[in-house]
Symmetry: C2
């Protein structure tokens, strides 16, 4: 299986995606929060690029909530921030959430040519690995996996890259990798026993901790606790029902 | 000391460079070849962006040689390719070489706002580390180091990143790093004893080996054999005479 890792949203050169399974990773915090929201009964998540888009979209979807962040902080007038701890069952159960985040939403948009787009985080990695392996057993139209690390402000992000490395490590030894995929696997293998420390020491981790979100950083660094695969389908992110 | 690593030439977001020492790394093969050429008596290297620019430039510099590559292969009608083994004393001794390479030349151009631009490779890393440390002892106008990995076709390149990691590792424990700098150090530390193997297995390494350049890949993966610091100054790359 061919696995190509891209470093950040806004990468100028996108590979051919029409026959690829794309996996979007934004550990701190967009995809971790999406996984958590769906696990807590959220009906679906609608990613949009700007707060203005979110407000406009809600006009057509009464009863839905607005969520997201700018510069890691909640947006004025929105119902929810980008902390997974905002997305508790009492708030999001049975609801649609229209969400805008800086990097994660852009990564989903950049992936839009792909036939399948899933969201991964440490939280749901075990389920992602098993589902990827099943896809490639059953679907000979897919020609590989492209991992979109959302990145931070169009830069390489260590938490996202470690998470991509955990995915690749889990897929076994028969994968063919680009250089960033090989680097991701090496980075993951050298830090799998101190993920929280490495992620807390990253530029984005330190910024979140300085803003009071240490609990988010620790939670988002926890592997294999939620058996959920968020899939992007016709503009909405919902729980994957396997074919 | 603050050290920021950028992943490839053509990075859309350049940091403020006016108070930085920039170190350009293109292990396979531009900076390795430049170090070798200067060690072999080449008078200076003039990096230009295109083969056409090189031919035009030679009109003003009679007696100079043309060197470089496109898609890793020599350019028709040029005197030298991009293999360090082309740059032997009998050919380059006492001569200027006008050189165009895909990624390395672009990285040098992108760095042009910096007051100091040096070229690093595994070959000259020991000298680079010592010279960087001396610069920061003696020069309080410099506010940090920015490492430009040239990359391959605007992508993350493992050989360049490992070389950046060796630089950072050599600078000691007091450096402040961006995420890619931290990743580079981790990658170098986990492969410092099998550099040739890791570089040979990279996408660019495999491509060069398939084209018959295995000897180049092994040579360019050899640390600390040439005590040369190429410095870009007024359009030419020359041997650094320390202030």
């Amino acid at each position: 299986m061919q696995v190509e890792v891209l470093p950040n949203a806004g990468s100028p050169l996108l590979p051919y995606l029409e026959d690829k399974l794309v996996i979007v990773i934004d550990v701190l915090r967009a995809t971790s929060t999406m996984v958590t929201a769906l696990a807590n009964g959220c009906q679906s998540i609608i990613p949009v690029l700007s707060p203005e888009d979110a407000i406009e979209r809600r006009l057509t979807l009464p009863g839905s909530l607005l969520g997201g962040e700018r510069d890691a902080l909640p947006i004025d007038g929105f119902d929810l921030g980008n902390s997974p701890f905002d997305y508790v069952p009492e708030k999001v159960g049975g609801k649609r959430v229209i969400i805008t985040t800086t990097n994660g939403t852009r990564a989903i948009r950049d992936a839009s040519a792909a036939p399948k787009i899933w969201m991964a985080s440490f939280l749901n990695m075990h389920s992602i690995v098993l589902a990827v392996l099943r896809q490639f057993e059953n679907n000979d139209k897919l020609q590989g996996v492209v991992v979109f690390c959302a990145g931070t402000e169009e830069r390489f992000d260590l938490p996202d890259t470690l998470c991509a490395g955990m995915l690749i490590d889990g897929l076994g030894s028969t994968v063919t990798l680009n250089d960033l995929g090989e680097a991701a696997r090496m980075l993951y293998r050298s830090s799998e026993h101190n993920l929280v420390e490495k992620i807390s020491d990253s530029v984005h981790g330190k910024r979140l901790i300085s803003l009071g979100f240490e609990r988010d950083v620790v939670y988002c660094s926890t592997p294999n606790v939620l058996p959920i695969i968020p899939v992007f389908d016709e503009g909405e992110i919902v729980w994957l029902t396997e074919e």
